[in-house]
């Protein structure tokens, strides 16, 4: 009954939606971690025990100590089929001024790499290096500072190798052991034997699973890329439902008489609804087929774009897996079915008598159900806004913000007819004073049918609100983090890395200031972020440190730590206060150091040092290896307690808690003395030095001097850039859909006004005047949509900003990305006017 042209908008929307989803799903399904080239020749890789933390989807593994790694490598080397088991030592080493290479390895592990020695010889003693450049002298930056090295050999890949002894000194902890197999060895049987050897002390990986060893930065980039694709697909699906819903709602409104006639001559309400639903499903299925085909064709092209954008490794190719295609094919009918549901329900309620009425009876602009639905959705949006402002976790806040945005905008669209007359009067008040007919036509045209005006303004409202809100949210949040970081620092300037991952000791020592040396320690399976600092200086530089109990001065003693309240709670729930005296940081109990290899059955961290083999009870408790009696509850958690940790060098220590600070008051979980961090992580790099007063930074040290504000702003610059790409992509998708919806509803609405236009023409209006009136009416509609959308979005943003300011402890400026908003507005205006005056061209012919 409803003609093809009438449903073209829904068809285009479904096709595009399915296209985006099919494309994203294919790209996501094809995205798998790639085995790094550097380990590609190891058919079997053994990785140290995995960790879990909510803060990071790709946490580091718990390293083996040198002794444990030696022992494990020896036992793995004895497995039949294994020619050698090679420890992969990873440490910071960077040719000065070359940011391609930021890590070095021991020469023996070069056997695992695809890289080949093409000239010269292997490094044999300290001061010798193999690189991908000419033989001769070179300056390398290492954790200690710049040093002269001699290139003794060159490889055909961007890799850096030092002699094994020097590598072992720079990276005492080992996280990966690669197995080189004999030519006749069977990978699966070797892997099985290796699993028996390793037990629970590590993970044995073969084939594609070895992709787990890809660099964590790559994994993170890929993960963000996937988040982007998933978010885009979800938005496309939502927008498709919206466009389909508005298309069918308008179609039903326009076909009221025809549907009523059908009711009169014998169609039951259910039949009318079913008819619409069937039409939607047909449109959905057709759009699905076309969209999936286009999506499949486009996916490889987009895949290359992703590679070029650095979101996927160069080896990335799109694989045509079944499930994304099946899901995309199914999606069209599903979203079309959801989109049509309200229209179908409303069509079923059309009474047969409406076919007999002479004139279209003006309906109330707002039905009771519309008020209720609009109110509920808006309230939900406000709640989400509150949740955004108060959420502790940034990622959850982001979810709430997106949900809240959708709810607020939908609420504004639903409630729009109630405010349209007032807004129209306000907007056209000056025009109403003019003598010309155009203004009168525009004003009355928009006022006569608030519901139609609201319906045509809805997609604009949606698009503008989304653009304002999402771009504003991202920019304001970025700003808030920068403000928070900046406000926390009491320093004039910051010495920050320049083209390097961090500052060397030499660079850090060259200026007087507060240096921060970060590393990671592991409490059981949980990685904790550690800051190595000079306690008293640190407290002066970091304004925000809030000491709950104890004193930071205690950090001067060896084997002590300052922990956040949540870390203190973590260990106090896992175990009570220590029964024995605190153990020094360097107490490396032989039994515990040998644990990973020594007790194949138990968890390497289950056994408490000094207690020998683990009892079943402590074997299950992995959080506190530091010797405590399970069940004895500590009255004062934290202070005076002991935190058992494994350091980056694989050694375990029990740290005496000398102070507990409030969560979030330090940018990490633990404070240690700088010396303690350096002792256990020889390759740790200083992240920044906060300085007061005039300082100079020497060139060629990989350091530069920047303002606190600059430092705060660029801390997450790389990730912020990806997030901004994501944001623009989302806004692009929503603007595209907004454009379809705007053009669609306006075309349908103006086509329905054909009789009106004929009457106008007969009463003496020129075509030019009619076009001007229609264009002006479209502009008013755009203005209404933008105004309502802007207000809805601004409301949400103000709430969010309040929450962010609270968190940052300083006023956060509200940043709105005006160029983006202006572009979206311009697009809406252009399309609206074009769509509104199109029927006048057809009418002329």
């Amino acid at each position: 009954m409803l003609t093809v042209r009438r449903l073209a908008g829904a068809f285009v929307a479904v096709t595009l939606g399915v296209l985006v989803v099919a494309c994203s799903a294919l790209l996501t399904a094809s995205s798998r971690p790639a085995v790094p080239d550097r380990l590609a020749r190891a058919a079997v890789l053994v990785q140290s025990p995995a960790t879990r933390t909510p803060a990071d989807p790709f946490p580091p593994t718990v390293p083996w100590s040198s002794a444990a790694a030696d022992d494990l490598a020896r036992r793995l080397g004895a497995v039949p089929g294994v020619s050698t088991a090679l420890r992969d030592r990873v440490f910071y080493a960077q040719p000065l001024g070359d940011d391609r290479i930021v890590e070095g390895h021991g020469w023996s592990s070069a056997r695992l790499s695809r890289a080949r020695l093409v000239a010269g010889r292997a490094p044999q003693r300290a001061g010798e290096v193999v690189l991908d450049r000419a033989l001769g002298p070179v300056t390398l930056l290492t954790a200690s500072g710049p040093a002269r090295y001699t290139v003794t050999g060159t490889v055909d890949a961007a890799e850096l190798y030092l002699a094994d002894d020097e590598a072992a000194a720079r990276a005492p902890g080992v996280s990966t052991i690669g197995l080189a197999l004999t030519p006749d060895a069977n990978v699966d049987s070797v892997a099985a034997a290796a699993r028996r050897t390793v037990g629970s002390g590590g993970q044995v990986l073969t084939g594609d699973d070895r992709g787990a060893l890809e660099p964590r930065a790559d994994a993170r980039t890929r993960w963000i890329g996937m988040q982007i694709l998933t978010g885009t697909a979800a938005l496309a699906a939502f927008a498709t439902v919206f466009v389909v819903a508005s298309t069918f709602a308008l179609a039903v409104a326009q076909r009221r008489r025809e549907l009523a006639l059908l009711r009169t001559i014998g169609a039951t309400p259910r039949q009318v609804g079913r008819m619409l639903r069937r039409e939607a499903l047909t449109v959905g299925a057709a759009g699905s087929v076309l969209g999936t085909a286009l999506g499949a064709a486009l996916a490889p092209v987009l895949g290359r774009v992703l590679v070029d954008a650095g979101m996927e490794p160069s080896t990335y190719t799109v694989r045509f897996v079944t499930w994304p295609i099946a899901a995309a094919l199914l999606l069209g009918p599903v979203v079309a079915g959801i989109g049509v549901s309200v229209a179908a329900w409303r069509a079923g309620r059309i009474r047969p008598l409406e076919a007999l009425r002479e004139a279209e009876v003006d309906r109330r602009p707002m039905g009771r159900s519309r008020w209720i639905a609009g109110g509920l959705v808006t309230a939900g949006g406000v709640l989400c806004g509150v949740a955004t402002a108060t959420a502790a976790d940034a990622r959850r806040a982001g979810d709430f913000a997106l949900l809240g945005a959708i709810a607020l905008v939908t609420g504004a669209a639903v409630l729009a007819p109630a405010v349209v007359p007032a807004v129209v009067r306000l907007l056209t008040w000056p025009a109403g004073r003019l003598p010309g007919a155009t203004a009168l036509l525009v004003r009355q045209g928009a006022l006569a049918a608030p519901r139609r005006t609201a319906a045509t303004a809805a997609p604009i409202l949606l698009t503008v609100a989304f653009a304002v809100l999402v771009s504003g949210l991202v920019k304001t949040t970025t700003e808030a983090y920068a403000v928070g970081r900046g406000a926390a620092l009491s320093a004039d300037q910051v010495v920050a890395p320049d083209g390097t991952p961090g500052l060397t000791d030499a660079a850090a020592a060259s200026v007087r200031g507060v240096a921060v040396l970060p590393t990671t320690v592991f409490a059981g399976t949980r990685p904790l972020a550690v800051l190595g600092v000079d306690p008293s200086a640190y407290v002066q530089a970091q304004r925000r440190v809030r000491v709950l109990s104890g004193s930071l001065d205690g950090l001067r003693e060896p084997g002590t730590a300052v922990v956040t309240a949540s870390v203190a709670a973590l260990r106090s729930t896992a175990a009570g206060s220590p029964s024995g005296p605190p153990v020094g940081p360097d107490s490396r109990s032989p039994s515990s150091a040998a644990d990973p290899s020594g007790s194949p059955r138990g968890s390497p961290f289950g056994a408490a040092p000094g207690l020998g083999s683990a009892t079943p009870a402590t074997g299950a408790s992995t959080l506190d290896p530091a010797g405590s009696t399970p069940g004895s509850d500590s009255a004062t958690p934290g202070l005076g307690g002991v935190v058992g940790v494994v350091f980056a060098d694989g050694t375990r220590s029990a740290l005496l808690v000398v102070a507990v600070v409030a969560d979030g008051s330090i940018p990490g979980d633990l404070l240690l003395s700088r010396e303690a961090v350096r002792r256990h992580d020889p390759s740790a790099l200083t992240s920044a030095v906060y300085v007061n007063g005039p300082v100079t930074v020497a060139a060629g040290t990989g350091a530069r001097l920047i303002s606190v504000r600059e430092y705060a702003a660029e801390a997450d610059a790389a990730e912020d850039r990806l997030v901004w790409i994501f944001t623009l992509l989302l806004i692009g998708v929503s603007a595209g859909y907004g454009a379809i919806a705007v053009a669609n509803t306006l075309l349908m609405a103006s086509a329905a006004r054909g009789p009106d236009l004929r009457v106008l023409r007969r009463t003496g209006a020129t075509t030019g005047r009619i076009r001007r009136a229609l264009a002006a009416e479209a502009a008013v509609v755009v203005a209404i949509g933008s105004l309502l959308g802007g207000v809805a979005a601004a409301g949400a943003l103000v709430a969010i900003r309040a929450g962010l300011s609270e968190q940052a402890g300083a006023p956060v400026p509200l940043v709105i990305a005006w160029p983006v908003v202006a572009a979206v507005l311009g697009l809406c205006l252009l399309l609206s006017i074009a769509a509104a005056i199109t029927p006048t061209f057809r009418g002329q012919r």
Binding site: M1, T3, L261, L262, T264, I265, G266, P269, P352, L356
Partner: protein, 266 residues
Amino acid sequence: MRRPADAVVRCAGPTRGGTLIGMTKSAVELREVRAVYGAGARQVTALDGVSAAFGQATFTAVMGPSGSGKSTLLHCAAGLDRPAAGLVTIGGTELSGLSEDARTRLRRDLVGFVFQAYNLVSSLTAEENVGLPQRLAGRRPDQAAVANALDAVGLAGRARHRPSELSGGEQQRVAVARAMAGRPAVIFADEPTGALDSAASRQVLDLLRALVDEHGRTVVLVTHDPVAAAYADRVLILADGRIVDELPGTTAERIAARTAMAEERC
């Protein structure tokens, strides 16, 4: 061509069963039907206790000035509108207890409509429009019946045309064909000639007359045109929601005179 009236109209008072209708069972019967629109001070009584019976194979014209309630009478009699009080029976089934779906099905099986305008679904051809009620009833339209109906209204050659390609008179004849093809017991026509010239009007009215004479259908025609009413077996005249006069089939002049009297009385 014309038959004597064989049905009796009772203008007032409750009926005593169907005895007064004589030998013929009525196709449609209204008892004490009241219809009210609006609420409070703006309440309008469109029908004020109307009782009428329309016997099988009869042609009744309902006349009256604007606002007399003649369209409301038709809507109530056809089951399109629910009266505020009173009973409506179509083909022996009382409507007030039926759900919307059940009433729709009853309408589909027993009732045909011809309106002044908006008669046809614009996207369907003439023959598709004629077969539509059967389709809606979930049956495959009887092609022969559809062809016969179009042939009977003289449009056999235009079966594949869409409404926009047909003149107003032709559209109205397609609507009559649709009403015939479903073989309904009663056909309600609401000002079917209102938008037609006199030649086209005559064609449509002849067709309605033939439906009664040759096919034994019951036709209820609402009109303000005495010429159209002259095709009927009897004429009911409404004023202020009541049946104020009734006359057997007669000439247009007499009908015009009686309606003028009814209007003066208001």
